[in-house]
């Protein structure tokens, strides 16, 4: 049953950056885009077992810190080798100063 959970405050993430958010045994990445919106994906790269939170956000791309693979974090689409498998994405909403994500 999907549920909305609070992930962070809106000012916890600089624009064009991301943070790691763990919930239960799952790990997520929460993004603040340059146009002020929030997005969420699974927290680890699909190439190897590497957290994306140390990566670099450029526009709407997240670059993995290990081999520089890139995803569009809005859609999860794999954009640059060596990543071939898309990232899972999760819905987000902002309520007041808080960012929520919808987790399964």
């Amino acid at each position: 049953m999907p549920q909305w959970i609070r992930a962070c405050a809106t000012d916890d993430i600089d624009e064009e950056d991301l943070i790691r958010f763990d919930h239960g045994s799952a790990t997520y990445a929460i993004y603040h885009s340059p146009d002020g919106k929030f997005f969420a994906t699974s927290g680890k790269c699909t190439h190897e077992d590497v957290h994306l939170c140390d990566g670099l956000v450029m526009g709407h791309l997240i670059e993995c810190p290990k081999h520089n693979g890139q995803f569009d974090y809005r859609t999860g689409e794999a954009k640059r080798a060596p990543v071939c498998v898309n990232l899972k994405t999760f819905a987000t909403k902002v309520d007041g100063d808080d960012v929520y994500i919808e987790v399964p």
Binding site: L56, R80, C84
Partner: protein, 361 residues
Amino acid sequence: MAKRDYSLLGPDGARAVETGLAAAEWYHTDVPRKVMKDLMTRSDAPAIRDTIILYGCMIAFAAGGIALWGTWWCVPFWLAYGVLYGSASDSRWHECSHGTAFRTPWMNNAVYEIASFMIMRNSATWRWSHARHHTDTYIVGRDPEIAIMRPPAFAKVILAFFGIPDVIAFIPRMIRNALSGPTAEEKTFVPQSEWGKVQRVAIIYTAIYAATIALALALHSILPLMVIGLPRLYGAWHHIMTGLLQHGGLADNVIDHRLNSRTVYMNPVSRFIYWNMNYHVEHHMFPMVPYHALPRLHETIKHDLPAPNRSIAEAFREMWPALKRQLAYEDFFLRRDLPPTAKPYREDFHKAALGEAIPAE
């Protein structure tokens, strides 16, 4: 003493997977997020400047070599052209494969494709082999880019300065890739979706070399091959000289780049040719930092790293005797002391892998 099996399909690789040594979490120096974001920032300007200088010099040196062909005066022009073709292409290939040299993706890809051709690496295969080199740096049986295996084959190392083993390995592989796609070993690290590309790239390379050889035959002159192909032999020495220092004589089967990689201060010409990869511990620890920011990264984290070698010559003086020791005793490696400000090596964690080390002089 353990005998190492470097085959990617062999028992050492399988053991590394079983024990968790493969794809492990590596040691990183703590760097505040804001500082790291600043270091990772991409920019086109430095790489555009360096690429204009590089290709401009190559055109000028080749033109000089062609104009003076048949006299001894052409020799310095070919030597200079060769080192840019056969060595600077290695660092351009490397940095653009990471996608960090330029901010603009097509620029990275264009320079990557040209450099891959010049350095004689299939651009579709080597992107993946280099990813594995970063995941499993100097893990025996996992890393396809181990330059000096143990015990070191000195004859091969010497021949490498003239590009000979690389070219001998490349040509039959290129033809095989052109005829039937990637080999069984290549299939262990290249995803299936890319196998067709490996073949296409090999066909293009084969066609270019065939055309160059045909032109040389038609002109009854090796001049076309002096421009395309041969500089991979006569200009390889610089990238071998700098490349051997990256990991030579240091530990294998560890997961701390401070133990298996070497940072060396180099002169500005070598740093241009090598695109700052002399900061090699830094590059492995943080591969997202572009080449032009590596000196700043070095300043940021050097308190946590072994002291760099102060010159290429000093680094060779450290590495060469260690390689000689490895002839008789494969487990031998150099272990560099850390400064008091550094987080210590995890002795407990690396003990099984480390074998016996001596402190570097």
